[in-house]
Amino acid sequence: MSTAPEEIAEWKMPSTRKVAVISLILTESALFTIFLVAYLFYMGKSLNPPYPSQVLEFPLLATIALLSSSVTIVFSEKALHRGNKGAFHIWWAVTIALGAYFLWFTGMEWKHLIFHDNLTLATNVFGTTFYSLVGLHASHVIIGLVLLTMVLILSLLGKVPADHTEHLEMISWYWHFVDAIWIVVVTVVYIISTRT
């Protein structure tokens, strides 16, 4: 029997950033789950109008904008990996523009709901759960936009070091998460609840 222990050959640990962002996404998912459950629980339990089927219209353009922003951010990252800074900036800016359009659309929708349909947080349990769920998502879009804009400005100023591609990748993971949540929210709020 040999007395010397075998050598430990290769020792590679996963990236701390990736594990942290995955954990963050997990914890955020738990938060969204509770608000989604609240929405589903109160579906059809409003005591007074307006009801979802009367006032909600499917936000087609906003949904297309947000989902395609997930694609443009991938183009942007690919450009960065090729070393094409110009294309990276353009696609990154397009991503911001698409996200901003989504936010503007939500704002217009809320303005219409509040001033035309008289639906506020206090109107009924539909208003309560609708604004809190969609608002929670919108607040995540805002955070994402702040991060994206910071990166764009810093990168244009030349302050993003070349070895920080993984940092940018993490922002894109977060952005994909915000998009994925929207698919669930849009399905529950605009498709399921308007049909009941």
Binding site: M1, P5, I8, W11, M13, P14, S15, T16, V19, A20, S23, L24, L26, T27, E28, A30, L31, T33, I34, F35, A38, F41, Y42, K45, S46, L47, T120, L121, A122, N124, V125, G127, T128, T129, S132
Partner: protein, 564 residues
């Protein structure tokens, strides 16, 4: 020199003045505020947890004094409500959570052979957020009355059932202090837990594969996962409550179609995993202490890991056993009764494995071991009453009675607090370099154990006799008088025990004998470095080939890795 950090205006400080402020009060405070070292933060977590422990313990003493005799008028009802609310909230969020995070912070990097946590600055952020959330909660005594001349501290109970928290029933700002404090504390807990997960997953030293990690680290990995899944529901609750109270939302407003029961569901989706978030660290400490003082490796390591993961998994699906009496369907009652009973299986496995570790071992009855033995017996009682309460019809009879109070105090004191004491005595030599005094510690153990059982065992009986929890007084002649008096007498012993404990911590630091690197002849990596460890933890990062790396170092002729 790195050109990025080169500062042309930099001048060397005057060599005469270097370190002149070291040791002064301002310098110590400055160091505490600036530090990102996981060991300092860990000790700060534990110290502030113990501080809040004393405050919340004094509140409990007032509660017991009021209940000592029937028709007592020591406290008025409103003050009593505030006291039990603040006692419960503080003990869970400001004592239990910070102390377990303190242990995790201090020990996880040392045990896995890392130099610090993965994100040191986020670590400091987590601590300070927790600390100020605690101050915010206690500030309610001063700040909450506001202009309303309404109540001061929160008085809605630690689970704050709706509609007690509605604007109509909770005037002033007391509930808002409770809400904001818990929201803030939740953010800190999540930050710290993400940090623990990342540290364990990404920072292990060479050779420390998951199957060789100390059980302590395994259990904290499980706890951190539970926190990041279970804490957001609490945050969601608090956000909804703020929306209800200040923006006219109707989440918990039954008159507008809202549901008070929904609060209970959401709160306990957090609240029950929280119980396991608190008790699994107790298991973690016991799993380190018992093998070392039995001179045997832990019995059934893989099963212990599997049981921990199983407990965490099941704990996410048992929350409604807190709500048997609200009138769920019989299917719901049955489901939650069965899932709750299932928890007993992995927990039983753990108890048997600890006993299996001790069986045939060469037991050393040092202070940490004494407290772990106390933990085993008391946690068994707590588990048995837990199984009783899991039976829905039994629970209908005894819910919200003193039987429940006795049950969860056996869990949290007899279980968690005893292992915390064990952990403090076990790692005290590592953190401070001095041995804790055995005689003082023995007095602490004896007095506290006697006091604990005198206080809480009679509450089982007064619960059976129908005494509800949270009443501020009771009439004589209902059969509760004697048990309440005995309960209150026990507090004297507990308080005396705590005095010995606190005195021991200070006395041993000043007068204790030097500990050396490895006073207990232990096997995990934290004992491989000096006591206290240097800020970089290890001079050279260790390599690990078995579950007991230090055993391998001490016994090169008969290392563990030959058998694993």
């Amino acid at each position: 020199m790195n050109p990025d950090t080169y500062d042309p205006n930099f001048r060397m400080p005057d060599p005469e003045r270097i370190g002149e402020e070291r040791g002064s009060l301002t310098r110590i405070i400055q160091e505490m505020v600036f530090t990102v070292d996981h060991k300092k933060l860990g000790l700060m977590y534990i110290a502030s947890g113990l501080l809040f422990f004393v405050v919340a313990g004094v509140m409990a003493t007032f509660i017991r004094l009021q209940l000592a005799v029937p028709r007592n008028d020591f406290l008025d009802p409103d003050t009593f409500n505030r006291l039990f609310t603040m006692h419960g909230t503080a003990m869970v969020f400001l004592v239990g959570m910070p102390i377990i995070f303190g242990f995790a912070n201090y020990l996880v990097p040392l045990m896995i052979g890392a130099r610090d946590m993965a994100f040191p600055r986020m670590n400091a952020f987590g601590f300070w957020v927790f600390f100020f959330s605690g101050l915010l909660l206690y500030f309610s005594y001063l700040g909450a009355p506001g202009l309303y001349a309404a109540g001061s501290a929160p008085d809605v109970g630690w689970f704050a059932y709706s509609p007690l928290t509605a604007k109509a029933f909770s005037r002033g700002h007391s509930t808002d202090y409770w809400t904001l404090s818990l929201l803030m504390g939740g953010i800190g807990s999540i930050a710290t837990s993400i940090n623990i997960i990342v540290t364990v997953v990404c920072m292990r030293c060479k050779g420390m594969i998951l199957g060789r990690m100390p059980l302590f680290v395994w259990l904290f990995l499980v706890v951190a996962f539970l926190v990041i899944i279970a804490m957001p529901p609490l945050s969601a609750c608090q956000i909804m409550l703020i929306l209800d109270r200040y923006f006219g939302a109707h989440f918990f407003d039954t008159q507008a179609g809202g549901s008070a029961v929904l609060w209970q569901h959401f709160f306990w989706i957090f609240g029950h995993p929280e119980v396991y978030i608190l008790i699994l660290p107790g298991f973690a400490i016991a799993s380190e202490v018992i093998p070392v003082f039995s001179r045997k490796p832990i019995f059934g390591y893989p099963v212990m890991v599997a049981a921990s993961v199983m407990i965490a998994f099941i704990s996410l699906g048992v929350w409604a056993h807190h709500m048997f009496s609200v009138g769920m369907t019989s299917v719901g009652n049955t489901f939650f009764a069965i899932s709750t009973l299932l928890v007993a299986i992995p927990t039983g496995i753990k108890i048997f494995n600890w006993i299996g570790t001790m069986y045939g071992g060469k037991l050393r009855f040092e202070l940490p071991m004494l407290f772990c033995l106390g933990f085993l017996f008391q946690f068994l009682i707590a588990g048995l009453t837990g199984v009783m309460l899991a039976i829905a019809p039994f629970d209908w009879q005894l819910t919200d009675s003193y039987f429940v109070v006795a049950h969860f105090h056996y869990v949290l004191i007899g279980g968690l607090l005893y292992t915390i004491f064990a952990g403090i005595y076990y790692w005290y030599p590592k953190a401070l370099g001095k041995m804790p005094d055995f005689k003082l510690g023995l007095w602490h153990f004896i007095l506290f154990t006697v006091g604990f059982h005198i206080t809480f065992f009679p509450q089982h009986i007064s619960g059976f006799l129908g005494m509800p929890r949270r009443i501020y007084t009771y009439d004589a002649g209902r059969g509760w008088d004697l048990y309440n008096l005995i309960s209150t007498i026990g507090v004297v012993f507990q308080a005396a025990g705590i005095l010995f404990f606190v005195f021991n911590l200070i006395y041993s630091y000043v007068k204790g004998k030097k500990a050396g690197d490895d006073p207990w002849d232990a096997w995990s990596l934290e004992w491989a470095t000096t006591s206290p460890p240097p800020s970089y933890n290890f001079e050279t990062l260790p390599e690990v080939r078995s579950r007991r790396p230090l055993w391998d170092l001490k016994h090169p002729d008969d290392p563990d890795w030959k058998y694993e």
